[in-house]
């Protein structure tokens, strides 16, 4: 049904999509995880309340999260160009993806940490644990199931956003769907890319759910 060239293009599209999704999730966590921990720690009822730091991060997280991704993508073009050297292609798309993901991840992490039983944290304090020890040995370990679920959801969202970036030449399956399916009316190619996106999404979700289940010792 498709010639070799088309198939090659689709395979390449899968690679690009995975590259964008996974790398932006990873980099998003590099920025978002410390931000989320900082939000938790500096919150009014946190381990080291600090109104100023909390409000600044809180404010920026809300601002970025309130901008629709497609608009953020366009707004960030100068920054993307400055970092990557070009504003199109999959590597360039990672910049807005990370900037969009980091505040979202920060919230997801903050929420996950908030679920940790305050009594357990109090017990750690009573044992003489430092704030750093409480974060690394209590919070991140006790919250790991929520953190993994959060990461799974985040990856799924970034997969969707990476496809959205196809509308402005972002590369990957979304790009193929827009160029062939939308501009050239090749519905078959569009359907293939959509099916592939669904399959990738399912795999991400399944891996995440299974990992969370395997690592959870709360219910057996």
């Amino acid at each position: 049904m498709f010639d070799a060239k088309t198939i090659y293009m689709i395979v390449e599209g899968i690679g690009d999509t995975l590259y964008m999704t996974l790398l932006s999730t990873l980099l998003g966590y590099v920025v978002g995880l410390p931000l989320g921990i900082t939000l938790y720690v500096t919150a009014p009822d946190g381990l080291k309340p600090n109104k100023f730091i909390y409000r600044v991060i809180d404010f920026f997280c809300n601002i970025i999260r309130s901008i629709p991704f497609l608009i953020l993508l366009i707004l960030l073009i100068p920054i993307t160009r400055a970092i990557v050297g070009q504003s199109y292609g999959s590597t360039a798309t990672i910049v807005p993806l990370v900037i969009c993901a980091a505040p979202y991840i920060a919230r997801v992490v903050e929420t996950a940490l908030n679920e940790v039983d305050k009594g357990v944290i109090e017990a750690a304090k009573a044992m003489g644990a430092s704030t750093f020890q409480i974060i690394t040995k209590v919070l991140l370990v006790e919250a790991r199931i929520s953190l993994i679920s959060g990461a799974t959801i985040t990856t799924g969202i970034l997969l969707g956003y990476s496809a959205m970036s196809g509308t402005v030449g972002g590369g990957g399956l979304g790009d193929i769907a827009v160029r062939y399916g939308y501009y050239r009316w090749q519905t078959d190619i569009m359907i293939v890319t959509v099916v592939l996106l669904i399959v990738i999404f399912q795999i991400i979700q399944n891996v995440g759910t299974r990992l969370a289940l395997r690592l959870d010792h709360r219910k057996r």
């Binding site: 009573a126 044992m127 040995k137 370990v141 006790e142 010792h217 709360r218 057996r220």
Partner: protein, 251 residues
């Protein structure tokens, strides 16, 4: 020598712009090696009181002295060190759900920087003492309430503390399990000579294991005496009736 000395402790909170007095000029001293009960209704301030002993809650006024060292004068590092010398157990056990029993008992040692192998050896000894040597691989969710509290006791003793604080440690347990936990505490007290402060709203707990008892009502210390005396004269019942504690304390 007194292991714990509280002098004129006052704790005030701001809640919605209103000042709530949780502790009002409480002074008491707990002797080394005794089991000291602190009894009162919910909201009487006993939880705040016990949290002042290891400075998890800092009093607004007054002094806390542990082995004659004033906690307010310690640096943060020194305070953490001091806290590691005071064990604490809770009503809700507060075990780490994602760690197994052995790893839970090792936790305070891990924080203190003790080597893993050494920590495990120590933890196994303690688990044996609390009668859970066959449960080291189990996770807290697989244990009963009484077993969880035993793990918590083992964990609290890991750093060889001289003081053990029990915050409503038996309030979530059935009477039979309560008795076995109280027996364990009594045993620890007599074998290791650890000073134990027991916070409770149950008169039966005080009667069973405490040497002396303080009655806390509305943030104030209303009575302090030996358990024998308070129960003998029936004075405690009178105090309890006056403070509306009878329902909570009677069993």
């Amino acid at each position: 020598m007194s292991a714990i000395r509280l002098e004129h402790l006052t704790k005030k909170y701001e809640v919605d712009g209103q000042t709530v007095v949780a502790l009002d000029d409480v002074s008491l001293s707990i002797d080394s090696g005794e089991i000291y009960g602190i009894i009162g209704m919910s909201g009487a301030g006993k939880s705040t009181l016990v949290r002042s002993v290891n400075f998890i809650e800092k009093p607004t006024e007054g002094r806390v002295l542990i082995d004659d060292v004033e906690l307010a004068g310690l640096s943060e590092g020194e305070l953490r060190k001091k806290r590691s010398e005071i064990g604490m157990i809770f009503q809700s056990f507060n075990l780490l759900e994602q760690r197994n029993v052995l790893s839970n008992v090792c936790f305070p040692l891990e924080i203190a920087g003790v080597k893993k192998k050494e920590a495990k050896e120590k933890a196994r000894k303690l688990l044996k003492m609390v009668g859970l040597e066959d449960k080291e691989k189990a996770y807290p969710s697989q244990l009963s309430g009484g077993q969880k509290q035993r793990v918590a006791i083992a964990r609290a003793l890991a750093t060889n503390p001289e003081i053990l604080l029990c915050d409503e440690a038996t309030s979530a347990l059935d009477p039979k399990t309560t008795d076995s936990i109280l027996a364990l505490l009594k045993d620890i007290n007599s074998r290791l000579g650890i000073t134990i402060a027991v916070i409770t709203h149950q008169m039966s707990v005080v009667k069973k294991i405490c040497d002396r008892v303080a009655v806390i009502d509305k943030g104030r210390l209303v009575e302090e005496d030996t358990v024998e005396k308070l129960f003998e004269t029936g004075e405690i019942l009178e105090i309890f009736n006056n403070s509306g504690l009878a329902a909570a304390g009677g069993e």
